[in-house]
């Protein structure tokens, strides 16, 4: 039976937090999970990147998203952020996202993750997403950063938080 072990959390104070940066991640688990509850101080949807090991996004990141906002499809096949860091584009509401990194310590294959998330916002603009995410580096994951994609407009609102867990399969 898999066991979740809490590793570390990060919570935004008031101010201009544009990144949650988990460093020195232990290499003692099988998989990793990040649960993030975020809101955007701007009244827009926004998003955040997941960046590994302090590297750069270009050439490393690719992703495909199935997304729905209300009754409108919002799919993407480009380099993509974790979509919708706030509820319904409203700074008062939080979005919740779960990102699962399997086999994060391996050094022979690119890193992948499955991202699922959504929010109910004000109840009129339900947003959901499922994203298949790939990072084209074989290095073991020692650092994970959640980085807002537009640092001049998208800011993690106060009480936004992220929790990192290690998964042991036995």
């Amino acid at each position: 039976m898999a066991t979740y072990t809490f590793i570390q959390s990060a919570t935004a104070p008031s101010g201009n937090v544009v990144s949650f940066d988990f460093t020195s991640i232990p290499q003692t688990y099988d998989d990793l999970v990040i649960i993030a509850h975020t809101r955007n101080v701007s009244n827009n949807y926004g998003g955040y990147w997941i960046v590994l090991n302090g590297s750069t996004i270009n050439t490393n990141l690719s992703a495909k998203r199935l997304g729905v906002s209300g009754t409108t499809n919002n799919n993407s096949t480009s380099v993509e952020t974790v979509w919708n860091m706030s509820g319904g584009g409203n700074s008062s509401y939080f979005a919740t996202t779960r990102t699962y990194f399997p086999n994060y310590t391996n050094t022979t294959s690119n890193k992948v993750a499955l991202i699922t998330g959504g929010q109910v916002g004000n109840g009129t603009d339900l947003v959901q997403q499922v994203t298949a995410w790939k990072w084209a580096q074989t290095t073991a994951i020692t650092r994970i950063e959640l980085r807002t994609d537009a640092p001049t407009t998208d800011i993690f609102g106060q009480y936004s938080s992220a929790y990192l867990y290690g998964i042991s399969k036995s």
Partner: protein
């Protein structure tokens, strides 16, 4: 925005969490990433729009040939 951008750094080995200002290099890299993303997104949006336009054009031509909306949808 004139206020200092910050990051929450959570060291998973020591358990220490700090609020640190972004360096000039980090800010510059973010701008590069955001610009690159905007370009990729614009390209994607244009491709989607072009596909929708082609679909509408094809449907109009099929309609002109006498197909009903139900018949077009069934293709």
């Amino acid at each position: 925005m004139t206020e200092i951008l910050t990051k929450v750094v959570a060291n998973c080995t020591t358990g220490v969490t700090e609020i640190l200002p972004l360096t000039a290099e980090e800010i510059a890299q973010r701008k590069i990433d955001a610009a690159a993303h905007a370009v990729r997104k614009a390209e994607e949006d244009a491709a989607v729009a072009a596909k929708a336009a082609a679909k509408a054009s094809a449907e109009a031509k099929l309609t002109a040939l006498g197909l009903t909306a139900e018949e077009i949808a069934a293709l």
